[in-house]
């Protein structure tokens, strides 16, 4: 239920209820009683609604905690490794394999042009080799890098302020209402200026409802007693019900320690009850009922909130545990891939560059040796390519049951669907909404879209096990928006960095886009959002 709709419903039901009451018993009802009844009913319904909401939230948290408790760490780690392997295969494909492929092509050109002038092609091989080594070093460095805390992630939620916003306007409104009612019932009110001051003071105590509820309640009771004792009683009205209800609720629901909260309720009850019984006996029972009812409602909410908090703490601890298990498994996986990759490619790139240099240098003075060097270059690139394909096939087969199609470097939007399917198959709870990207979106951009989704899902698998993820790809005039939101523990459970997000931000910036990461809607979970500039076809 939307909050605004909820309020409207409460008001509607209250007015209807009060009107019905008047209709049933017209003799006893003045117009004031209708207003009074409606307000009372509205208050009660609001309390009920708050209690129900707190209960629902607690149930939610408990459900999540149960779900996490029932998730096996091995299973979560396995899933994360599966997703990670898919990504590693894609990375190797995009970064290393494509470089080796270009070297192979240039070596073939050198072979073709051998009798004319192979030098440009040989230099191309060398330049490619240098670039490949740079990329490889970056990739290996990222793979081996231990996870470090993201400094931006350390900033926690803002500390609670002493006087939360919203309490001041509420207190001001109630003080105004109390004084207005005092004027309205002028004839029956005694006590003069002192009474007015005490009335305003009593209404003003709601200011403490969040910061120090018990103190506010005690003060309110005290002011009522003081009014009674000094003969300048606090004047009656609807505002009393509101103030007493708010404070009793706050004591029961919010006071840090329950005994203090209950003491606040008792002092409030004693102060207001005793004074009213003496000064305004006809209204005293209603006030007592409102006070006790609010306190009971507050207690119920307190129970629900506390149990929700406990569940959240349990869930958080479990999520941390799962994340640690996952971290370990993924790290081992990455190191093993880094080792394979280094063994396979690093020395091969060196061989290729050195021999293409030798081929270039020796071509005039020792054609046979030069030729032999070119053969080494061609053989090495071809072998490396084959071994790389084997490596990625093994990685990816281990992950998703089937090797990636060879040469599939570009990814279209259809691939995002396929990716999500595969990740679901690995056990992640993912929902997907993709708008067709349209004809104006180039291959480079679709690849970035794919990578954003892939990276974010990998991240979720590792850092927010057991949570559900929503993936959304939307096109807007001039931009493509990729949104991946999970309902996991957010920043709290370990830093959400990984080599992924850093590299991903680079990728997104390279096509002129922006990557934002942070808490999801309502401050819960984690969100990765990429805005990519695009000439989207109409």
């Amino acid at each position: 239920m939307g909050s605004r709709g909820g309020h409207a419903l409460v008001v509607g039901v209250s007015v209807a209820g009060a009107a019905a009451g008047v209709a049933l018993d017209p003799a006893a009802s003045a117009p004031w009683d209708v207003v009074f009844g409606a307000c009372l009913l509205a208050g009660l319904l609001t309390l009920l609604r708050l209690a129900l909401r707190a209960g629902a939230r607690a149930l939610d948290e408990r459900g999540r905690a149960r779900r996490l408790a029932g998730t096996s760490a091995e299973e979560v780690a396995r899933r994360a490794v599966v997703v990670e392997r898919g990504r590693l295969a894609a990375d190797i494909e995009a970064v290393v394999r494509s470089a080796v492929l270009r070297m192979t092509a240039s070596a073939e050109v050198a072979q073709r042009d051998w009798d004319r002038d192979p030098r440009p092609a040989l230099r191309e091989v060398q330049a490619e080799g240098e670039r490949a080594a740079l990329e490889l070093r970056r990739l290996l460095g990222l793979l081996r890098e231990s996870e470090q805390a993201d400094p931006a992630a350390v900033a926690g939620p803002a500390p609670a302020t002493a006087l939360p916003r919203g309490d001041v306007p509420l207190a001001a409104a109630l003080v105004a209402l109390a004084l207005a009612e005092r004027t309205l019932y002028g004839v029956q009110v005694a006590g003069g200026a002192a009474g007015a001051v005490l009335t305003a003071l009593a209404a003003g105590t709601v200011l403490a409802r969040r910061a120090r509820p018990s103190l506010g309640a005690a003060a309110c009771g005290g002011v009522f007693t003081a009014g009674h004792l000094t003969g300048s009683p606090v004047s009656p009205g609807l505002w009393v019900l509101a103030v007493v209800g708010v404070l009793a609720w706050a004591c029961a629901a919010r006071q840090e320690r329950l005994p203090e909260g209950l003491a606040g309720v008792v002092l409030l009850l004693a102060g207001t009850g005793a004074s009213l019984a003496a000064d305004d006996p006809s209204n005293a029972p209603v006030v007592v009922v409102a006070l006790v009812g609010s306190a009971a409602g507050g207690l119920a909410v307190r129970g629900a909130t506390r149990s929700g908090q406990r569940a959240r703490r349990r869930a958080g601890e479990r999520a941390d545990q799962l994340a640690r298990a996952t971290e370990e498994a993924v790290r081992a996986q990455r190191l093993s891939v880094a080792r394979d990759l280094h063994d396979l490619v690093s020395s091969a790139v060196g061989v290729v560059v050195v021999h293409s240099g030798a081929a270039e240098a020796l071509r005039e003075q020792d054609p046979a040796a030069a030729r032999a060097s070119l053969d080494v270059v061609r053989r090495t690139t071809a072998e490396t390519l084959g071994e790389l394909d084997e490596l990625t096939a093994v990685i990816d087969r281990g992950a998703l049951g089937s090797p990636a199609p060879p040469g599939a470097v570009e990814h279209g939007p259809g691939d995002v669907t396929a990716l999500v399917e595969r990740v679901r198959g690995a056990g992640l709870d993912v929902s997907l909404t993709v708008q067709p990207l349209g004809p104006g979106v180039g291959a480079a951009l679709t690849t970035v879209v794919y990578r954003v989704v892939q990276e974010s899902l990998t991240n979720v698998a590792r850092h927010a096990p057991g949570s559900s993820v929503a993936v959304e790809v939307t096109t807007r005039p001039g931009e493509v928006l990729v949104d991946v939101v999970d309902d996991g523990p957010g920043r709290g459970a370990g830093a959400r960095r990984g080599y992924g997000l850093v590299g991903l931000a680079e990728r997104v910036e390279r096509v002129g886009g922006r990557l934002e990461t942070g808490p999801g809607p309502g401050g819960r979970g984690f969100r990765v959002r990429a805005r990519l500039p695009a000439e989207v076809g109409a």
Binding site: R123, Q126, A127, G129, E130, A132, A133, L136, R137, L140, S346, S347, V349, G350, V351, V353, V354, H355, G357, A358, E360, A361, L362, Q365, D366, A369, S373, V376, T380
Partner: protein, 226 residues
């Protein structure tokens, strides 16, 4: 430089790499260059030490990442046997921890296996004349390597340091950040030739082979902010 008769004054190079195909490529590449002669090859640390003792090369081109990790310990022994020999380290990646350990072990510089061939030849020549420089980024990582792996035990302060003039010490401190002579001159408002003579003075007083080792010594002795 004591080049034996018959080498025609060419730079004598020993190539050490466990990867046979790569080594063959390096030998072919260096052999094709004017003024460079490959006098020997080796495939592991111990045999490189033996070969260096026998052949007295001007430059040893050495892969430090050979299986067994014996490239690093070879540096020490090669330099002990032949103080005039300079070691140029071969590596796949420039900012590897290996590189810094090799520099700290006395290597005069390093070279990427993927460097362009002309660069390879140039580096071998520069190394033999002690003119190799470290890029500032490398010096920075070298400093970090001292933080990550502090020198074992409390080493005695290098004796020559106290013999340096205040000006020479200034020059050493700037040099230790990877600055060239021209950059040092700009920073200290000195003529480049003056800087050059200061550097020579520093190397002589400290008994160092080249400026790379001066950088290492400055870090070793904690002269550069850590």
């Amino acid at each position: 430089m004591s080049a034996p008769a018959g080498s025609g004054g060419a730079l004598r190079v020993l190539v050490v790499d466990d990867h046979e195909v790569l080594r063959a490529g390096l030998v072919a590449l260096l052999g094709a260059a004017d003024g460079v002669r490959v006098v020997g090859q080796a495939a592991d640390g111990p045999s490189s030490v033996r070969a260096a003792r026998e052949l007295r090369p001007d430059v040893v081109l050495l892969d430090v990442q050979m299986p067994g990790g014996d490239g690093l310990s070879a540096i020490d022994r090669i330099l002990a046997d032949g103080p005039a020999t300079r070691v140029l380290v071969l590596t796949t990646f420039d900012l590897d921890e290996y590189v810094f350990r090799a520099l700290r072990a006395g290597a005069s510089g390093f070279l990427l296996k993927t460097a362009p061939p002309s660069e390879l030849v140039r580096a071998v020549r520069a190394c033999s004349s002690g003119e190799l420089q470290l890029a500032p980024s490398v010096v920075q990582r070298l400093a970090e390597s001292y933080v990550a792996h502090p020198p074992a035990g409390q080493r005695p302060r290098a004796p020559g340091l106290d013999a340096l003039t205040p000006r020479e010490l200034d020059v050493l401190l700037v040099l230790a950040r990877g600055a060239s002579n021209a950059e040092i001159g700009r920073e200290l408002h000195l003529a480049e030739t003056t800087v050059k003579s200061h550097v020579t003075g520093i190397l002589t007083k400290l008994g160092l082979r080249d400026r790379v080792q001066a950088v290492v010594l400055a870090h070793d002795n904690g002269l550069v902010g850590r």
